[in-house]
Amino acid sequence: MAELLPPAANPLPVGPAAAARRWMALRRAAGAVRGSKAATVGAAILAVHLVLAVLGPALAPYRYTEFHMTHLLEAPSRQFLAGTDQFGRDQLSRVMWGARGTLTLAVVSTVLGEALGVTVGLVGGYYRGVVDEVLMRTMDALMAFPSILLAMLILTSLGHSPTYVVAGIAIVFMPRAARVLRGVVLSLAASEFVDAARARGERGWYILFRELLPNAWTPIIVDTTIRFSYSILLATSLGFLGLGAAPPSPDWGLMINEALPFLNQAPWLALPPALAISSAVVGANLLGDGIQASLRPE
C-alpha cells in the first residue's frame, strides 16, 4: 500500500470535526423549526416549560409542602394566584414545583423508549429473517395492548415508583419507535453503501450505528418530538390513577386526582395542572408536526 502512494507534498488541512457533523440532522431540525410557524409556537411553549422545570422551585412563591391552615380551599386571590387546596397549599407553587418531576419523567421515558425501539428497528430492519420476525412479532404483541393498560400492567406488577413509570412508558413506546425505524432501515439497508461496508467486512454494530443510524436521525427526531407529547399524557395519566408518584408529590396527574373530590367546592383546583399538561402536549405536538412538515421533501 504505502509504496503505491506517494506522500502528499504538503500537510493537509484537517477537516471539520466529525462530531460536529453528527448534529447535522439536529441542525436541520432547528432550521425547520425556524421555517415553520407552528413549530416556532410549539418550541416557545416548550421553552416556558423548560424554564419552569429548571427554575420552578426558585420562582415559586411558596414551597410545595407549605401548609396555610387558615387558607383552606381558597379561590384565586392576590396572595394565592391559583387558589389553595384542602391543606392550604398554594396550587400555583405546586404546579411550578411539579414541572421538573413531570417533564423529567416524560423526557427520560421518551428517550429510553426511543433508544430501545431504534435499536430493535435497526437490528430487525438490517438483519431481516428470523431475527426480524421474532423481534417484530414481539413488538406486535406489545402493541396489541392499549398503551395505558400495558403501562398499568407493568406498574402493578413491578410496584409504584418513578423508575418503573419510566420503564413502563419506555416499553409502551418501544414497539412504535421500532416500527418507524425498521421502515427507514429496510429501504436504507438496500443501499450500495451498506453493501460496500459488508464487502469490506465491517462488523454488524458498525453498519447499524455508523452507516445506517446517521441517515435515520431526521425521522427519529420527528418521532421523538411527537412521542414526547404522548409521554406527558401517559405519565400524568398514571399519576392521576395513583400509579406514579405518591402524595405529597406535586405530580401534575396526581394533583388532578387530588382535586377531584373538591370539584364542586373548588373547581379552580384542577385547572392549573390541567393547563400545564395540555399546554405541554400541544407544544410538543405543534413542534413535531411543524418539523415533520418542513422536513418533508416537496
Partner: protein, 615 residues
C-alpha cells in the same frame, strides 16, 4: 431534410426555470423543424435540455418554467393556445412517450383499460369498440396475446411490454406528432431493438412525425433521418444523421462520437478520448461559446463572444466559428496513450468460482416458511477463473443473474452451492466467516452512483475507512493517503471534506473507485459501473479503470449489459443467460464469431453508429 411543409416548426425556443437561486436558462435559441413522416433525433447528455425541449413542443411546460419563442404545429402557434385547446390536442394529435413506463402507467388499472380510456375520451368510442381497437393497437405494437395483455395489470408485464403498452396508448388516436423521450433507456438491447423496429414501422404506416430524444448516439444513428445535437441548452449542430455522424461540424459532436466505445470498430487504444471538464453553470449569463472550456480547438474568439448558429454545409447548421476545421471522427488518430504495458497473467488464477449456484427464497430465512413458493434459481452452476491483471466481462440482460454472480463472488450473497476460491484457497461457503484479510483482497464498485456513498459521511471518511480497517496508521497518515487516492482518481485533496450531495454522479463514482482501491485489492468486481453515467463521463471512468489496472495490477470482473463497453475493456467475456453460462472466450473471438444463438442475437441487437444507409 424533406422539402414538405414542416409539421412541427420550432423557432428560437427558450425555456427559463425560475428557481430559488435565480433564473436558470434550460434551453436557449433552439430552432428545428420536423416534416411529416420524419424522425428527428435530439441527442445530448444529461442537463443538455433535451427533455425540456420535448415537453416545451408539447406545450406542456408550466410555471416555474417560462417558455418563449415560437412553436408551430401545422402552422398554428402552440404556445399561445389555451389549456383547454391544448388538452384537446394532447393524446389525439400530439402524443408523448416517456422513459419510465413503470410510472407512466397507472398501477391499479389494467393495461387495456388505460388505452380504452383514451379512446373513449377522444374518439367517443363505446366500450366494445374501444376494446376491439385496443386489441388492434396491442397487436400493432407486437405485444404477444394482445387480448390477454389487455387484461393484465402493469406489474404483470415486463419492462419492454409496459413500454409497448405506453406506445400503444400514445398511438391510440393516430397522432400526427409523437414525442419519444428516451423510450428504450433502461431496457435490454434485444427489447430495445424490437422497439426501434416498431417505431420505424409506425412511421412507415402512419406517416407521423416523430421527435426522438435520446442520449444514445447509436440509437439515433439507427433510427433517425435528421439529428440535432444539444449541449448546455443549445442546439450546437443539426443536419441529416448520416452526414452529421460521418463529418461533424461541431467539436462537441466530434468529441461525443470519439469517446464512445465502439462495438463494431474497437480501437487499438486502451484509453478513450474523454471530454474533460464539466457543463457550464446554467444560471450564468452567456458571454462565450458554451463548449469553449472543454474544446480542444477553442481560440480566443470562442471565449470572447458566443458563436451564432451558422449554416455551414448544405442542410447543416453548426454553432461553431471554426466548423470547417472540425476533423472527421475516424481521421483523427487519438494520441496513442497506451499506458504501461499490461501482461495478463492467466497462468495462476486470482479468483475462481466452481459450480456457483444461488437460489432466492431459500427456507430458513423466515420463521414461518411461505408454502408452495419454489425457490428461484438465479444462478446455475457457474464456474469461472480470473487471472492476474485480467479483465473478465460478464455479459447478460436484466434478470440473467449477472449481478447475483458478482455478489456471490465478493461475499455479499451466500451461494446455495459451489465455492469461491481466492488465490487457490477455497473460501468458506458462509461469507460471514470470511476473514478481513480475505475481504481486503476483493472489492466491489456498484452501478448506482446516488447511494454508493453514505450521504452523511464525507469523502475522507469514505476513502479512509478501508485504510483504517486494513492498514491502521494515524489519522493524519490516513488523511494523507486518502488524498493520494483521490489524486489517483483525478479528484484531488480539495474533495476530502465534501459530502456526497456536493458531488456529480461521475465524481461520486470516482470516490467509490477510490474507496475500492484504498484497500489495495487484487480483484475488483465492477457491477455496471458506468451504466448510469453520461457517455463523456463513462469514457473518463473507463479510462480510470484501465489506468488503475495498469498501475496496480488488479484483475476485474466487469459486469455489464453494454457490449460496446465490454468489447473496449475486457480480455475475456462470459455470456450468461437465465443463470447459466452460454458462451465464454477471448473478447475478439466471441465478438467476431459467436457460437451460441443467444450471443448472436445479443450482438445483432446492439445498435451501432453506422446508419442503415451505410450498411
Amino acid at each position: 431534410m424533406t422539402t414538405a411543409a414542416p409539421l412541427l416548426d420550432v423557432r428560437d425556443l427558450e425555456v427559463v426555470y425560475r428557481t430559488a437561486r435565480g433564473p436558470v436558462n434550460a434551453v436557449r435559441g433552439v430552432s428545428f423543424a420536423v416534416a411529416p413522416g420524419e424522425i428527428f433525433g435530439l441527442v445530448g447528455e444529461s442537463g443538455s435540455g433535451k427533455s425540456t425541449v420535448g415537453l416545451a413542443v408539447m406545450g406542456a411546460l408550466r410555471p416555474p418554467a417560462a417558455v418563449r419563442g415560437d412553436v408551430r404545429y401545422r402552422g398554428e402557434p402552440l404556445l399561445t393556445k389555451s389549456p383547454a385547446a391544448l388538452r384537446a390536442l394532447w393524446g389525439r394529435k400530439l402524443s408523448i412517450v416517456f422513459q419510465n413506463p413503470g410510472s407512466t402507467l397507472n398501477p391499479v388499472l389494467r393495461a387495456g383499460a388505460q388505452v380504452m380510456e383514451v379512446l373513449q375520451e377522444h374518439e367517443g368510442l363505446d366500450r366494445a369498440a374501444a376494446f376491439a381497437r385496443t386489441v388492434e393497437l396491442f397487436d400493432a405494437v407486437q405485444l404477444p396475446d394482445p387480448a390477454g395483455v389487455a387484461g393484465k395489470y402493469p406489474h404483470q408485464l415486463s419492462g419492454g411490454q409496459q413500454q409497448r403498452v405506453s406506445i400503444a396508448m400514445a398511438l391510440a388516436c393516430d397522432p400526427d406528432l409523437l414525442v419519444m423521450d428516451e423510450p428504450t433507456t433502461g431496457l435490454d438491447v434485444t427489447t430495445e431493438a424490437r422497439i426501434l423496429e416498431l417505431v420505424r414501422s409506425l412511421r412507415a404506416r402512419t406517416g407521423a412525425a416523430i421527435l426522438y430524444i435520446s442520449h444514445n448516439l447509436a440509437v439515433i444513428a439507427q433510427l433517425c433521418d435528421a439529428v440535432g445535437v444539444m449541449y448546455a441548452g443549445e442546439l450546437v449542430e443539426t443536419g441529416p444523421v448520416a452526414e452529421v455522424f460521418a463529418r461533424p461540424t461541431h467539436p462537441y459532436t466530434l468529441a461525443l462520437l470519439r469517446c464512445l466505445p465502439r462495438v463494431d470498430a474497437p480501437s487499438a487504444q486502451r484509453l478513450l478520448p474523454a471530454i474533460e471538464g464539466a457543463l457550464p453553470d446554467p444560471a450564468a449569463p452567456v458571454t462565450q461559446c458554451q463548449f469553449a472550456a472543454r474544446c480542444p480547438m477553442a481560440e480566443d474568439r470562442c471565449r470572447r463572444e458566443p458563436p451564432p448558429l451558422v449554416e455551414g454545409l448544405p442542410g447543416r447548421t453548426s454553432r461553431c466559428f471554426f466548423w470547417e476545421k472540425v476533423p472527421a471522427p475516424d481521421a483523427v488518430p487519438a494520441e496513442r496513450v497506451r499506458a504501461a504495458s499490461r501482461t495478463v497473467d492467466t497462468g495462476t488464477a486470482v479468483l475462481e468460482a466452481h459450480g456457483l449456484t444461488h437460489e432466492y427464497g431459500m427456507p430458513g430465512r423466515r420463521l414461518v416458511p411461505v408454502l408452495g413458493a419454489p425457490p428461484l434459481r438465479a444462478l446455475d452452476n457457474v464456474s469461472l477463473a480470473v487471472g492476474g491483471r485480467e479483465t473478465l466481462a460478464i455479459i447478460g440482460e436484466s434478470g440473467s443473474g449477472k449481478t447475483t454472480l458478482g455478489r456471490c463472488l465478493v461475499g455479499l450473497l451466500r451461494p446455495t452451492a459451489g465455492d469461491v476460491m481466492l488465490r487457490g484457497h477455497t473460501l468458506p461457503r458462509r461469507p460471514e466467516r470470511w476473514t478481513r484479510s480475505t475481504r481486503r483482497h476483493m472489492q466491489i464498485v456498484f452501478q448506482n452512483p446516488d447511494l454508493t456513498l453514505n450521504p452523511r459521511r464525507t469523502v475522507f471518511e469514505a476513502v479512509a475507512r478501508p485504510l483504517e480497517l486494513f492498514g491502521g496508521g494515524t489519522r493524519e497518515d490516513r488523511r494523507r493517503r486518502a488524498a493520494a487516492m483521490l489524486e489517483a482518481v483525478k479528484l484531488g485533496a480539495r474533495y476530502l471534506d465534501r459530502l456526497p450531495h456536493q458531488l456529480s454522479g461521475g465524481e461520486r463514482q470516482r470516490v467509490a473507485i477510490a474507496r475500492a482501491f484504498a484497500a489495495d485489492p487484487d480483484i475488483v468486481v465492477c457491477d455496471e459501473p458506468t451504466s448510469a453515467l453520461d457517455v463523456s463521463v463513462q469514457a473518463a471512468i473507463l479510462n480510470l479503470l484501465a489506468v488503475l489496472q495498469d498501475s496496480r495490477g488488479v484483475s476485474y470482473v466487469f459486469i455489464s449489459h453494454d457490449l460496446s463497453v465490454v468489447r473496449h475493456l475486457a480480455d475475456r467475456v462470459m455470456v450468461i443467460y437465465r443463470g447459466s453460462v452460454v458462451e465464454e472466450g477471448r473478447t475478439e473471438d466471441v465478438f467476431a464469431s459467436p457460437r451460441d444463438a443467444y450471443t448472436k442475437a445479443l450482438l445483432a441487437a446492439v445498435p451501432t453508429l453506422k446508419t442503415p444507409a451505410e450498411t
